[in-house]
């Protein structure tokens, strides 16, 4: 008995053990990478609560010796944060509304209506996605300056009402997936195109519209170059510009800078957690080949 060669283990046992060690390795890598990605967040939030002596010290203090929430009220007192916030919200909300309406309409035209020249126009749309905004940056500034719109919100809001190629593309991809029978049924019932669009397409496209809404809000909240070009007076500035100005004046006030940065990150992260599903689906849609 003892000199017999042991029977090879059934292959599924071997494979299970193989996947188990593989999974363990994957898990370890995931945790290490995950910590690396989260560490800057921890560093930002912990700095925002630290007292000065904890900030300028080597080695760094991982856990603040005392928590100082006053950093937040101090930082907010240095510059008109709430006015900047109101400006940012105004720009963001109104441009997002514009993007939603116009992009959905145009996307419907491209996805569901057959008309001569449609494909040519769609190629034009795709190629404008490749156009770097720097090419139109200077002439647009000249146009808006002629209209007397510099230092107003109009240059940052009005263009949104004419659609964005990215959002049009994303919504078109989604509209293409809506079954034709639903549209035909509405058409037989005597619905106009506008009726089909508003009563059949839009209600069925809530996930894609939510994705566009979220991208729009994020864009407005994030935008730096636009406000930098067009908004120069104190009363018109946005939070992003305000934070940059804060850095210029209080360069080494790291606890204050991190406090405002944290305040800027919180809304985006909250929105993301509530709408993660739409968000991820929306990004995947833009990556699909047309």
């Amino acid at each position: 008995m003892s000199d017999t060669i042991p029977a090879p283990k059934p292959s599924h046992v071997r494979r299970m053990r193989g996947t188990r060690t593989k999974n363990a390795v994957t898990l370890v890598i995931m945790i290490v990478v995950g910590i690396t990605f989260l560490l800057p967040f921890y560093w930002m939030v912990s700095t925002s609560f630290k007292v000065k002596t904890d900030i300028f010290c080597v080695p760094p203090k991982w856990i603040p010796s005392q928590l100082r929430p006053q950093n937040y009220t101090d930082a907010l007192g240095y510059f008109p944060f709430f006015r900047y916030l109101r400006n940012t919200v105004t720009i963001t909300v109104f441009s997002t509304i514009g993007w939603l309406f116009s992009s959905a309409m145009v996307a419907y035209g491209f996805a569901r209506l057959r008309f001569p020249g449609r494909n040519v126009l769609f190629y034009v749309l795709l190629s404008t996605m490749m156009l770097p905004p720097q090419v139109t940056m200077v002439p647009l500034f000249v146009i808006f300056r002629t209209l007397g719109w510099v230092d107003t919100f109009y240059p940052l809001i009005i263009p949104a009402y004419f659609g964005s190629p990215f959002f049009i593309f994303l919504l078109r991809q989604y509209f293409l997936g809506i079954p034709q029978e639903l549209i035909d049924a509405a058409r037989i019932d005597g619905s106009s195109e506008l009726g089909i669009f508003s009563r059949v397409i839009l209600p069925l496209s809530k996930p894609a519209l939510t994705a566009v809404g979220i991208f729009g809000l994020m864009y407005g909240w994030n935008d730096f170059l636009g406000p930098l070009i067009y908004l120069n007076s104190e009363k018109a500035k946005t939070v992003a510009l305000g934070l940059d100005a804060f850095r210029t004046f209080y360069g080494t006030d790291w606890q204050g800078l991190m406090a405002i940065s944290t305040l800027m990150v919180i809304p985006v992260v909250v929105i993301f957690f509530f709408a993660q599903k739409y968000f991820v689906r929306g990004i995947a849609l833009t990556g699909m080949k047309g």
Partner: protein, 296 residues
């Protein structure tokens, strides 16, 4: 044209009309006027004066222009391929059947949500030469690290390192591509005795090649426009010894600080031609390597 065709045309144009008007006002007219301005001396305050190709000739002799091109290509040369490799690796990690997948995906994506100004502030603090947390870690390894953003040689690498933190968008696009790869292909590869690397090399990469190309093109378009981070993070006009004067940063300074709109327009056109030719090059070189399932 029949009546139905006429109705179709009318409806179609009606629906796409906002975009058609928009493209006229915000793309077509600006492109043409930018082309004209690039041939002019133009300060916005006074009407443009036609000067022919002078701007382009001056650009060829402009040291800072060449410096900004070099900086931008240097940045792109490292940031694009390494960024793609990292985001693809993360997507591959997330594509395994492991518990808590959504949780890890959220963590890897989270940095991409951070507003660019806040991100710049945070990384200025991380890269701080004296009290920065990065240099603390490096000192544990016995490395005496530079003052990153204040150092001529390390300011660009610092911005490249930072760009790897926010690769969530291409990661999610890769992940969507990976999830579309039929499992049967992996199974038949396994039967043929393929190991992990074989499968990646001969199944995964060819199957997601269109997604790789897409992310590469988006990477080119975005990377060449890098502006806010060097503008906010590095001192003075474009970093120590102009080491972070990237193309768009120089364009912005020319246009809105020096009010040389004609010169800036010429720069914008060169940027456009660079991005266009790199994109076409990427498409051309990948032509025989990209596999579209179901097409041809």
């Amino acid at each position: 044209m029949t009546k139905a065709e006429k109705t179709n045309l009318r409806n179609g144009l009606l629906f796409v009309s906002p975009w058609i008007v928009g493209i006229g006002c915000f793309i077509l007219y600006p492109i043409l006027s930018s082309l004209y301005h690039s041939l002019c001396d133009y300060s916005v305050l006074e009407p443009p004066v036609f000067i022919g190709l002078t701007n382009y000739i001056d650009l060829a002799r402009d040291q800072i222009f060449w410096k900004s091109l070099w900086n931008t290509f240097f940045y792109a040369f490292f940031a694009i391929p390494l960024g793609l490799a990292i985001s693809l690796s993360l997507a591959l990690l997330l594509n395994t059947k492991i518990r808590g997948l959504a949780f890890y995906r959220t963590i890897f994506f989270l940095p991409s949500l951070v507003p660019i100004v806040a991100m710049s502030m945070l990384w200025m603090w991380i890269f701080n030469g004296q009290y920065g947390v990065l240099n603390y870690f490096l000192s544990l390894l016995g490395i005496r690290a530079p003052a990153w953003l204040m150092n001529v040689h390390w300011s660009k690498p610092a911005l490249i390192i930072m760009s790897f933190w926010a690769i969530g968008y291409s990661m999610v696009i890769f992940l969507a591509g990976l999830q579309d790869v039929p499992l049967s292909l992996y199974e038949s590869a396994e039967i043929d005795g393929a190991n992990f690397l074989h499968k990646i090399r001969h199944v995964t990469i060819p199957m997601i090649s269109p997604v790789i190309l897409f992310n590469l093109i988006m990477g080119i378009i975005w990377t060449f426009q890098i502006f806010a981070r060097p503008y906010i993070m590095t001192p003075g006009p474009g970093g120590p010894a102009r080491s972070t004067t990237f193309y768009t940063l120089y364009l912005f300074q020319t246009a809105f600080e020096d009010l040389r709109m004609g010169y800036a327009s010429a720069m914008a056109w060169i940027l456009f031609l660079i991005i266009l030719s790199l994109t076409l090059l990427a498409i051309r070189l990948s032509k025989d390597r990209v596999y579209y399932a179901g097409v041809r």
